[in-house]
């Protein structure tokens, strides 16, 4: 009979079901800067994979890193009674989410930790990752190391800069701020920042870019330079190996998976204290970090100008 009804175009109404059953939908919201940024897309992929097995759907929405838009999206999602929220937040203060958390909506922060509230989070070991990169460059003899970063209001940016600063200081470099540039949120801005940095009277001999888009911008800026500085980029990207770009690598899909697992656990009733999971990074050394132009022959190596 059910089959017959199906033939006639009958479909059970999942909306009515979700509504009836606890006034909660089977969707989980994923709010981030931009779906078309591969970093977010890979997080989405990981989360989707895990959620699917639980009969949950991922609803993605892009905030363009605009705090007001993010809040509007969150409100909207909450009204739509999503089961849980996965957020890569660009908001500075998350206290407005506290009532929802109390009312039982799991909220998991991805990539950037919650601010002014306690909640589950999955982040990257930013400072440690930067530390590894800086240590590698210092060891190769670099002293003038530049950093090109994203919007300075993003916590990830600040953590990466702090990791950079700590490693530089412990390498005996006090004026580490000299070659630090921030607020390069898109590829052209990053390209311009790198070009600007290299136009200094004493340009940096090495560069660290703090995310995949900035790395792309840097690559463009360096393309036609005869003696490009060493380069290490944060985030792995598909053509990094091909291009010989050294990176601080980590696993965005895993972040999505773990975020989804936390959500699933909470939905199943877990009320253990919020966890803050830190994902490891790994320095992948390829050609770009091994350039030594402008260094003077410190070691056996001597391929500089």
């Amino acid at each position: 009979m059910l089959a017959a009804a199906q033939q006639l175009g009958f479909r059970r109404n999942g909306l009515a079901r979700d509504f009836r059953t606890g006034a909660r939908s089977t969707s989980v919201a994923f709010i981030m800067g931009d779906v078309s940024n591969p970093f977010y897309a890979r997080i989405a992929r990981g989360a989707e994979r895990r959620l699917r097995d639980e009969g949950l759907q991922l609803v993605s929405a892009s905030s363009d890193e605009d705090p007001a838009r993010e809040r509007a999206l969150i409100d909207d999602m909450i009204e739509r009674r999503v089961s849980a929220l996965l957020i890569v937040s660009s908001v500075h203060d998350h206290r407005f989410l506290e009532p929802e958390r109390r009312l039982g909506t799991p909220v998991v922060f991805l990539d950037r930790p919650p601010d002014h509230i306690v909640a589950d989070s999955v982040v990257i070991g930013n400072a440690a990752g930067m530390g590894q990169a800086v240590a590698h460059l210092l060891k190769a003899g670099h002293r003038r190391i530049g950093l090109v970063g994203d919007l300075r209001r993003l916590s990830t940016h600040r953590e990466r800069v702090e990791g950079f600063a700590a490693a530089m200081r412990s390498g005996g470099i006090a004026d580490w701020e000299r070659y630090v540039r921030a607020d390069s949120h898109d590829i052209p801005a990053a390209e311009a920042a790198v070009t600007d940095l290299l136009a200094s009277p004493e340009p940096p001999t090495a560069l660290i870019t703090t995310n995949n888009r900035i790395t792309t911008g840097a690559l463009r800026a360096l393309r036609s330079r005869p003696h490009p500085p060493a380069l290490i980029g944060f985030d792995e990207f598909e053509l990094a190996e091909l291009l010989g770009v050294s990176v601080i690598s980590h696993d965005p899909e895993r972040m999505g998976e773990i975020g989804a697992d936390l959500v699933i656990g909470r939905l199943a009733g877990s009320d253990e204290p919020p966890r803050s999971i830190v994902l490891p990074t790994r320095l992948v050394v390829r050609d770009s970090s091994e350039r030594r132009h402008g260094l003077g022959a410190t070691k056996a190596d001597g391929d500089e100008t």
Copy 2:
């Protein structure tokens, strides 16, 4: 008073509202192969942007190009009463969607046309794009042109091969099939196919890859070759310019936008006959297509071995 209630954690129930109002949610489903593939991610971005202004949300789900999974996802979405479906389908026969369409759920096919039913679609001018690429290579004197393609059951693959074949034949090349390889769905498979093709006794002097991932695989395979063949890839990608890779370019975000517009129009009650929109391609010539190794000095140019 509403504000006061809000303070207390009250939120209107969007689920109840959607349910009451016509038993249709404010979500639009987007079903494609894999969110983390930039091609799909960019379509999602374009669609999301348009839908947002109408108060609609995009719910993305990845089918992994598995027809059974795609059907399951579609059924699930329909049960959840999404307002409309945007599908990059890997199913061969879409008649099962006919009842839904009759019942008023707009269905828009993206990238790949509907099969056995009539419905709105937004596709790329595949054959024409390939034609341009082949013509360009033929004009440069290439005769042995290889093609590395995706799963042969995908209509886009077939159309691209047909465009290739037509252009080759009209260039007087009858044995165009000699260097055609299909079913390279991931990067390693594409890399292997290219390596294999170049191991022929009379290897092709030019290669066309039929999507971004295959192009990446080809780039890996060609990386260490002293005299790589000319290369043109289907799909633009972020580092194509930097790498000097010539491409058959088109605009996935636009595809998403137009798909969303069609959905919005149908939802507003438009009952004009289904439209099939074909998006143009543009051959972007960069260095990779200009290599002439193995050609013999046909023209003024003579940089071959």
